[in-house]
């Protein structure tokens, strides 16, 4: 067997592509000459072959560190900003971490991690590094409670969908995402920006949405992704009017018809597509026909991604999935046939599959199982509704009932609330089984969204 050429991020960052940048709300870094710059104070050599914890406050320095570490470190564990510090010790042990890249070196002085390297701006000049190995990328799952699981990926698996799509036509894209690039959905966009020869504009959790959109415009963002919750927030903010991206992408939550139609109306000249991906299953597919769900003939083997439905749940086998959970008590990531069980429940209606919810997110209504997402999708179809959340509420009569919190679209006359409530209920009664129809509808100003950009479902 002949050794394969090891592919690393630096291979996509030659100096021949001019004008490429990586930016956040504070700094702009040129990607064109990034290979002769270092965010690690020139200490990359010391990290060769190490298991590196990437624990940096901001995405900009994290992204540059990823570029440097890929192909040099044995593995790197990406820490999203909201990671509970109480879980760090367990994660360090599970991933065999022996070095940390951080912007807070003082915090790591007494922790027993043998090597602490500081990530700092401005960048310093360095000699370009040579790729030594295929680095393992470790990502944390965005599960709801407890220590997150560590999913192991290779760069080849992470970029499988991007390479399969081939280079984009036209000018190099300027990518942006509402996600953090240390999560699967955000990392996909970061990798797209690097592999496409383009640029990227990072998000900032402390920035007001209107300021973020101003920055996206100023940097000429052409391609942008976020969760349906991110997008609903943008549509509600009134900031969408100033923005005209060429490509709008949704992933990470169910993209229902209402949010797809809302984006198409807000961005009439854009392509709007939704993608299915998860930290474990990798990128499954993209849907670009403007409709919710996906065509039934996506099942089977398609572009190297095999999908089947077992007990209602979508299972995926491809070279893009994570290869294992990492750690002392790691469970199997795939079934015996190599399929990842996504836990995403789908339902066949006509010639299309529709996502109805998460297997773990079922609420119990009088002994009957209900997916809150299915109810929200019906409520969201009302033209005056921007966003909704269904949940269960205890009932002394039936054990539980469905209640829904609803955000009305901007400028809805409050005097119409009762009329809208009746229309929503009529809509629900026409399209849902009676136990799924909300017993109570409450109009609210906001709904909580998690740091991962998903509607918070703490009681699910």
């Amino acid at each position: 067997m002949s050794p394969r050429e090891t592919f690393a991020l630096r291979d996509n960052l030659g100096a021949e592509l001019k004008g490429r940048t990586l930016s956040d709300a504070h700094d702009v870094v040129s990607l064109t000459d990034i290979l002769s710059q270092t965010v690690l104070g020139g200490r990359l050599r010391e990290l060769s072959g190490r298991a590196v914890l990437l624990k940096v406050s901001d995405q900009l320095r994290s992204g540059i560190a990823m570029i440097e570490l890929d192909g040099i470190a044995h593995r790197m564990l990406l820490c999203p900003p909201d990671l509970n510090p109480a879980y760090l010790d367990a994660l360090i042990a599970d991933a065999g971490i022996d070095a940390v890249v951080t912007d807070e070196p003082d915090r790591w002085a007494e922790t027993g991690v043998p090597l602490v390297v500081t990530a700092r701006l401005p960048l310093q000049t360095t000699v370009p590094a040579q790729t030594e190995r295929a680095t393992e990328w470790l990502m944390l799952t965005s599960g709801t409670s407890g220590v997150p699981k560590i999913a192991g990926h290779t760069l080849e698996a992470l970029t499988g969908a991007i390479v399969a799509e081939g280079p984009a036509r036209g000018p190099a894209p300027v990518w942006a995402t509402f996600y953090d690039i240390r999560r699967y959905g955000g990392l996909q966009i970061f990798l797209r920006a690097i592999l496409s020869g383009g640029s990227m504009v990072l998000s900032d959790p402390h920035e007001a949405l209107a300021d973020h959109v101003t920055r996206l415009n100023a940097r000429g963002v052409s391609h942008i992704s976020g969760t349906p919750s991110h997008w609903r927030k943008l549509l509600m903010s009134g900031s969408a009017a100033q923005f005209a991206p060429a490509y709008v992408r949704l992933s990470g939550e169910i993209a229902d018809q209402a949010v797809l139609d809302g984006l198409k109306a807000a961005f009439p000249d854009s392509s709007v597509g939704h993608a299915y991906a998860s930290t474990e299953a990798g990128v499954g597919f993209a849907v670009n026909d403007g409709l919710e769900g996906f065509p039934a003939d996506y099942l089977g083997n398609r572009n190297g991604v095999e999908m089947k439905v077992v007990d209602g749940s979508l299972r995926i086998r491809s070279t893009r999935t994570a290869h294992a959970y990492i750690g002392r008590n790691a469970t199997a990531l795939t079934d015996d046939d190599g399929f990842v069980d996504s836990g995403d429940i789908v339902e066949l209606r006509g010639d299309r599959y529709y996502f109805v919810g998460r297997r773990g997110g079922i609420i119990n209504i009088g002994g009957l199982k209900v997916h809150p997402e299915e109810i929200e999708a019906v409520i969201n179809r009302h033209s005056d509704v921007r966003m909704s959340r269904a949940k269960s509420r205890k009932s002394p009569i039936t054990g539980g009932i469905v209640v829904a919190d609803v955000i009305l679209a901007d400028g809805t006359d409050p005097a119409r609330a009762q009329e809208i409530r009746d229309q929503i209920l009529d809509q629900c009664r026409a399209q849902l089984a009676s136990h799924k129809v909300p017993a109570v509808i409450r109009f609210v100003e906001t709904l909580d969204v998690t740091p991962a950009g998903k509607l918070a479902r703490t009681d699910a």
């Binding site: 009088g366 509420r393 205890k394 002394p396 009569i397 039936t398 009676s434 109570v440």
Partner: protein, 81 residues
């Protein structure tokens, strides 16, 4: 609005929504005869809790569920304000 009229109004509203043909509501009408199923009662209790701030059937562990419309209304009237 009195507690009684609040309760009666909520019953009538839910009957309209659930397409239940409600007989004339009198105090001695049994709840069974209203045509409400348990889901309709669950909705009624939840809405009245939102409106009045009380759920008389959860407050007390041993509260028996009322048998008639009159019992049901009194369960709300008898809650200390």
């Amino acid at each position: 609005m009195s507690v009684r009229s609040k309760v009666i109004e909520a019953i009538q509203q839910i009957a309209r929504e659930q397409h239940v043909a409600l007989p004339a509501l009198s105090d001695d009408l049994s709840l069974h005869e209203t045509g409400f199923d348990s889901l309709a009662f669950a909705i009624l209790v939840a809405r009245l809790e939102d409106e009045t701030g009380v759920d008389p059937f959860t407050i007390s562990e041993d509260a028996a569920f009322p048998a008639t419309v009159g019992d049901f209304v009194r369960a709300y009237e008898n809650v200390p304000a």
